[in-house]
């Protein structure tokens, strides 16, 4: 049965494609716009008549000029040089929950019935989309046990930020705004759990894990006080370790008068198994572009679904979606709301996709997602740890992992001098997406965090493991091969971490043309 795991003789598409500016041919046109009606030109005369003095653009923007087939070709070639989840065994980007984004859902969001909707249309004409938002909110309530949702945040980070805002508003509302200035989180949490409350003005306390992979109750108790505004928890964290005493954490914070926020971006292993509600938290957020299958889109657009308990519902961003028994409506009458964190109502396309995905799976399917994600991860872990040289598991004395795991290549590095940066470049030679090591700071040396979601078959996982077996073998037998990788990618090694001075920054072609070191000029810019 099934395919034998074999190493793929891969080579990336390599088009050696210039920067779009280098393809410019002055005079060419990629698209034409309507000619302005002669009658209008007669009526108003020269365009200068319509523009205040000094405001007419003097120098046309130096955009490239290409004909249409050449523009298309350029971006198609670039697309082929990109290892999207659809194309690869995208297990390496742990914490990102790289799962299959069903193509049928793309048809929904690319339907003009969605794409051509203006957010300010009379709600008489947007009943369909409001219904989906409303129904999806009911689903999310069931999935999380929370009581109200907003889909306005434009990603997980913004969802967490919005939770920090609600936390602040809550304390202000109780007259404790000035007192509750501290937020607690864990050092292993996604950086946003520190950065978002900080952005909202809180002082942040980062707890270190013990040998259990999570902080001790004592450590928590030591920092909780009347200054505590709340705690931002992730469970499981990116390590895949589940904190079984999370309820105790929550109780301690609650007792101190703080609120508890759950970061559910790593939720994929918990559908139908565990919820925010049972953990007793007050708020949470889900990344619809991760566990709920909306595609990642080269880093967005995304949606952080923000869920809160009833007591906090009045603080959610404005507007929310209501239903009066006959019609769906947008509720702007929310005097206690934190306001707006994003224009209009958020990335509704992500909501539609997530809605369709939940519908396609139903209650049993969602639980199956979680169970298979856990099974896949545990199977892979077993093979990785037993068969791959030089790798080890973090917090080895806590053997259980849910849907992902953090490993370390420290031993391999010590034995061979090969680093995670080298391994990562080499992995690309086998047709893999580069892997995610860890967020900063690196608590674990030479970290590595793969996540084999439910979208991958056993055969996929086996192929993935074989590749790392092979790379480890290479590191031990021929380290130079790994260090000088990639050899079968779109380009060979460049030194892509050299900028430390903002003066050297070249993030535009025009800056590059001005600043790039003379020796690297291969031809004069356009």
């Amino acid at each position: 049965m099934g395919r034998k795991a074999k190493l793929r003789n891969f080579h990336a598409a390599k088009w050696d494609e210039p920067i779009i500016f280098e393809l410019s041919e002055p005079g060419q046109r990629g698209i034409l716009y309507p000619k302005v009606d002669e009658e209008l030109k007669d009526e108003f005369g020269e365009i200068e008549n319509l523009i205040p003095e000094g405001m007419k653009r003097e120098k046309a923007p130096a955009l490239p000029e290409l004909a249409q087939p050449q523009v298309l070709r350029h971006y198609l070639r670039l697309s082929q040089q990109t290892l999207g989840q659809d194309l690869v065994i995208d297990i390496g980007l742990g914490t990102c929950t790289m799962k299959y984004s069903p193509k049928i859902n793309e048809q929904f969001v690319r339907n003009p019935k969605v794409s051509e909707l203006h957010p300010l249309q009379d709600t008489e004409t947007t009943q369909g989309i409001l219904r989906i938002m409303y129904e999806f909110e009911q689903m999310m309530k069931a999935i999380s046990g929370m009581d109200a949702f907003s889909f306005q945040p434009g990603g997980g980070a913004m969802g967490i930020y919005a939770n920090a805002s609600v936390m602040k508003k809550y304390h202000e509302d109780r007259g404790e705004g000035d007192q509750r200035t501290e937020v607690i989180t864990t050092i292993l949490s996604h950086p946003i759990n520190a950065a978002a409350p900080k952005t909202k003005g809180f002082k942040v306390i980062n707890l270190m894990p013990t040998e259990t992979g999570f902080p001790s109750i004592e450590a928590l108790k030591a920092v909780v006080s009347e200054r505590t505004a709340g705690i931002f928890l992730t469970n499981p964290e990116d390590t895949g370790i589940f904190n079984p005493v999370v309820k105790e954490f929550v109780d301690i914070v609650h007792e101190a008068g703080g609120l508890c926020v759950y970061d559910m971006a790593d939720y994929n292993g918990l559908f139908g198994i565990a919820r925010a509600k049972e953990a007793g938290v007050d708020m949470c957020q889900f990344n619809l572009h991760k566990a709920f299958s909306s595609p990642h889109g080269c880093m967005g657009p995304a949606c952080g679904a923000q869920g809160v308990k009833q007591e906090l519902a009045r603080f959610l961003p404005v507007p929310t979606v209501g239903f009066d028994g006959e019609k769906y409506y947008l509720d702007y009458d929310r005097p206690d709301s934190i306001g707006k964190v994003r224009k209009f109502y958020g990335v509704i396309a992500a909501v539609i996709r997530a809605y369709a995905w939940v519908l396609a799976l139903g209650p049993d399917g969602l639980k199956e997602v979680a169970e298979v994600a856990i099974l896949n991860n545990n199977y892979m872990m077993k093979r990785m740890l037993e068969e791959v040289r030089g790798i080890s598991l973090s917090w080895e004395n806590v053997p259980e992992r849910l849907e992902q795991a953090r490993y370390s290549w420290q031993k391999l590095k010590e034995d061979t001098g090969v680093t995670i940066a080298d391994i990562n470049r080499r992995a690309v030679d086998y047709g893999l997406q580069s892997f995610f090591p860890s967020h900063h700071p690196f608590i674990i040396p030479e970290p590595y965090t793969p996540e084999p979601t439910e979208s991958y078959s056993k055969a996929d996982i086996d192929e993935y493991v074989e590749i790392f077996k092979k790379i480890a073998e290479e590191a031990y037998t021929n380290p130079e091969l790994v260090k000088s990788a990639p050899h079968r990618s779109t380009i060979s090694k460049v030194y892509d971490n050299l900028v430390t001075d903002p003066k050297d920054l070249m993030v535009t072609w025009r800056a590059y043309c001005k600043k790039r070191p003379m020796e690297s000029k291969t031809e004069s810019p356009n």
Binding site: V36, F44, L50, E53, M55, K56, P61, A62, L63, P64, E65, H74, Y75, L78, Q81, G84, I104, E106, V109, N111, P119, Q121, D122, T126, G128, M139, A157, M158, K198, V204, G269, E278, P295, H296, G297, C298, M299, G339, V341, R342, Y345, I348, A349, L361, G362, E368, L375, N376, S455, S457, I491, V494, Y495, L498, V499, L505, V507, W509, Y512, R516
Partner: protein, 463 residues
Amino acid sequence: MVKDFIHPYIPNGIKQTKDEMLKRIGSKTIEDLYSCIPEHLRIEGRLDIPEAISSELELKQHVEAILNENITCAEYTNFLGAGCYDHYVPAICDEINSRSEFLTAYSGDTYSDLGKNQALFEYGSLMGELLDMDVVAFPTYDGGQALNTSIRMSHRITGRKQMIVPETMSKGLLMQVREYNYFMEIDFVAVDEKSGQINLQDLESKISDQTACVVIENPSYLGHIDRQGEVIGKIAHKHEAVFIVYVDPSSLGILEPPINYGADIVCGELQPLGIHMGYGTGMGGIIASKDEDAFIMNFPNHFYHIYENEKGERGFARALNERTSYAKRDDGVEFLGTNVGLWAITAAVYLSLLGPKGMYELGENIIYKSNYARRVLGQVKGLKILYPDSNSFKEFVVNFDDSKKTVTQINKQLLERKIFGGKDLSREFPWLGQSALYCVTEKTSKQDIERLGEALDEIINNK
């Protein structure tokens, strides 16, 4: 023990596969694998959500039946703008952003996602030309967040806490600004009643050495083109405040980029550049600054930098990461998360397609047609165009006070005629009476405008 669960999205649902995997792990059941989750944290029973619609055919019928309850701007004639714009989306923009590779890539690095990274570098580069600026960041969530960060940057750079914004700023944008910059004081600068232009005396009276930034929108939320940018910039700079301009990128083929009248930070909404409205899905935030260390190091956003090796091969990677919260957690600049990469690539395609001449034609179409609409509506008895002393670009304000009807009433009647009337401003700016913000883009035809004029004449004057 283990059961079959066969769904197209879950390859390992097969009992035999599961058993094989469990055997390798050395466990009996999958439940064993999550025994670390204590009972009291478990959900009791099944999730209370609708049963699965697992056939794609039925799912499609179900979802499309709901979506068909919508009526769209492709079906009716649309005059709504106010921050989200019904521009033409060239076919190739959709072709590229629906490519599986781009649609489903994420944060991959230099080698695995070279094409994506190049496209993102090109986004910055193309936007740089449109704005005439060297430093353009990866776009943020939406124009509002771009403005938010611009304001925060001004605070970090100046150490000051006052911002000055025009009183005509949209209430939506203002809600975002207030929320994010909660610790700052906000002062509104008045605008001239006839022109909507910033009242410079008022600005002078409000600016001080506490001012972190002066913000203008150009064109303003109410549509008129700001002609005092240079003076305002000078006033701001005289007080060592940062001059922030929120710009409509669709105007920049014909209007001067803000940097040329003194802006320090330029921000704005990306959506006009080839991205569908999608009920607000299409939003993105442009953010760019002068090429100075203080500005650069205060961006919270990613920068896609270009690298070259000896062979002349080019790679593209995120640079100066130490600034960011990814590297520094609470010590980083603001916070950073997943933003709108696909829209960045789409805007790159759009700008590559249009080029300088396309951007010019776009602007030309908008300004002529919009001015025609302004004139046509101005001639309808009972309507008044506000801010007659200014030029407008694609939006303008129509006042209905003389008609004795509310905008709500009028818009309902327009809807019956398959027209989405302009955005009701009566609650947003009560001082404007019964007014609406009308938007005309290159998609609006002369006939559409004339039909609107006739419809309003009918509705108001019972013609």
